[in-house]
Amino acid sequence: MNALLTRLGVQVRPFRALVRTFATMDLRGQLYGLSTGAKAGELIPPLFWVYGQMLTVSLLLCAALAGRVDARFYAFANLSVAALMVFSAVVVEFHEAAYDPEDVRVIGHRPVTSRTWSLARFVNLLGYVALVGVAVTIFPTVMGVGLRDTDATWVFRYPIASVMTCVCSASVALGLYVLGGFGERFDGLRQALAWTQIGGILALFYGGQFMIRNGTGSVSMMSYDPPDWVLNAPTWHLAPWVSDGAIMPLAVAGAITVVLAGLALWGMQRAWSGVATVQAVTAKVIRPIYAPAWLAFFGVTRRGRAIFALTRALFGRDRELRSRTWPALGMAVTVPMIGILAGEYASPTAGLTGAAVVPIGSVVVLCGAIPSLLFNLTHSRDHIASFRLAPFWDGDARHAVAVAVYLSYCLPLLVLHGLVLTWVWGDGLAALSFSLTSAVLVALAARLCVTSQLKGPIASRSWRRGGTSGSVTVVIAGVSALAATVGAVWLLASASLVLWGAFVAVLFGALVASVVVDRPKREVA
């Protein structure tokens, strides 16, 4: 091994030291959730989320395809999803394993070649790829043996193909990261992929249940007569190795894997030379953010306006915070899209049908996204925002932050949703009444979230400052359950104008009451 590394021009001892250091830091870092100030029992680290997500998607896909398609299509579908999941995981989560900005400050002046550093970082990334690779390989391997046209050799053929697919996919993701200079240009891709991932998962859920319900066997037909896009996919050409043991696809895939990994490594080496020698950046002139006086209409005090402006600035300028915000809202965008495309997005005023549940469901999903947005902003140790806002944390601040979240993200989405409803339903009045009710319900959900940060048996643990996002799932569950219950009442109340009016009045009353209750007591001179 040492001889091989030396032949590759890698400094053996520094390489081993760096690999050991990166692995040590990973085990102590936030991905494994063992950082200071967090007890293992209180959180669900990001790595577990990613791992669970991959296992779930893989299981659903296997369950949906098993018995319906032949071995080649089964292998193709699973390898393709594995490639997409690994690509997305590297871009969205694990790019941190490939490059840490601290590296420049800590080892930039040490006698380490860029080749040594890049190989150490690449090996570090491959550790994560191996972990997620196992997650997307277990179910297709185990369930694939049971297909009617496979034999026992599937047990080693599929994992080999899966390893190659995962390494290729990770190498391509790494290549894009490197082309983006490890920096800002990469963020757009990260956000786009985070959205795509959510959309893909929802489509898979919907597609899965569609296939189970579908009596025409359209998926089976597609596997026997694949469309052109399937025939052109690289994983389709690798699948014969898995299904029939064909050697040529394996050899070609092996060569491609080596080339792609080599290119990614070469790119990292060049990029390291770039980042390690250009450390300083030119100061930027940025536009100040003010809080307008009309915020008083939303019950924001003068002091609260300063908090509002600070919150808007943090949302606008903290790229990491933004990149965690969009995925939380992704569900609220994807549910209406799927509902509309499936033709199941009817107005609740048109009658108590299953299709009328989906629009209300999309509003409930938006309510469920608010705790994550607030947690990232006010309590997460991963974002500087929570530390900036901590010293001002009282009723005024809580309300201002809730209003900032509402006006920055929720209201624009609701307005857009209202326009879409007008177009889909062809009934402006129904769309308007629906949007008004949504606006009040979502505002109430935002208020409920900030009010739940007051001392309480569950809330005090869930909103503990400095935790990871795992703890806030309790609040997400609570808010979602409550919003779903209110949504059910809304559906029933939509049958009559009087009932609907009473329903909105009660919601609005609860909203005003929640603001008044949380007001800090003013000292009387």
Partner: protein, 251 residues
């Protein structure tokens, strides 16, 4: 072997000229202070010297080697950055071992040196604590030990007294003097002028990216009205016309 040689160093950030035709040398055995007001270009100069910033123009030689080419210059270099320079998730012991491995030091020699530095700077009690849980002074001590472990021939220190208590500051001054006596070239960047006055053999003052004074500390002090480096610094760095003053205090 030569020490630090900087010639024609220039660098620009957008519209801002951070360094403009900077020349100086620090021979082996000398402690040279690098002074200047905020934004004068000190950190840019240090970044270029350690090789983490590629300047627009100029050449840099450390012990005769260019820091941008090959590893020889970096083998000779010990650097204490202004802040950071340590992985927060490691312990001081792990960091020292990392530094030892990156410089490929003989394990026995490195272990002996480590014991010596740990004792000198009093970090024995915190050796296995995570760096992100340490105080600023403890981190600074750790950074200094990591920089000195391989007995560098070129020593660059950017505000090394930041966060250090009286005892540690005294130890550091002794260590720096001892390193220079053993032939190391030391570039000491600081805002604490009385320390520079006592410790440094020579001082370079930067203002608006230009060298406005480069002379033995004693001569600079002797030429000022109240015999302090502070008044020299004030006179040189508060002038509107840096070019006019440049060289006025040269030896």
């Amino acid at each position: 072997m030569s020490g630090i040689e900087v010639s024609g160093l220039s660098h620009r950030y957008g519209e801002t000229q951070a360094l403009s035709d900077v020349h100086f040398t620090v021979p082996p055995g000398e402690i040279c202070g690098l002074l200047g007001p905020n934004g004068a270009g000190k950190t840019t100069a240090l970044s270029a010297i350690v090789g983490t910033l590629r300047p627009d123009a100029g050449t840099i030689r450390l012990g005769g080697y260019c820091p941008q080419e090959g590893l020889q210059a970096r083998q000779l270099l010990g650097y204490v950055p202004d802040s950071g320079g340590l992985y927060g998730l490691l312990s001081p012991r792990e960091h020292l071992l990392l530094a030892s491995d990156l410089h490929e030091l003989d394990p026995a020699v490195a272990a002996a040196k480590m014991v010596e530095l740990v004792e000198q700077f009093g970090i024995g009690a915190i050796l296995d604590q995570r760096i992100d849980t340490l105080s600023k002074g403890q981190r600074q001590r750790t950074a200094i030990c990591c920089a000195l472990l391989h007995e560098p021939r070129i020593l660059l220190l950017d505000e090394p007294l930041n966060g250090l208590d009286v005892d540690a500051a005294r130890v550091l001054r002794d260590v720096i003097r001892s390193a220079a006596d053993n032939g190391a070239a030391v570039l000491y960047c600081s805002h604490i002028l009385d320390v520079v006055e006592r410790l440094c053999d020579r001082a370079i003052i930067l203002s608006a990216g230009k060298v406005v004074a480069d002379a033995p500390t004693s001569e600079l002090v002797a030429k000022s009205a109240d015999k302090t480096l502070e008044s020299v610094f004030h006179a040189l760095t508060h002038s509107a016309d840096v070019d006019e003053l440049s060289g006025a205090f040269d030896a």
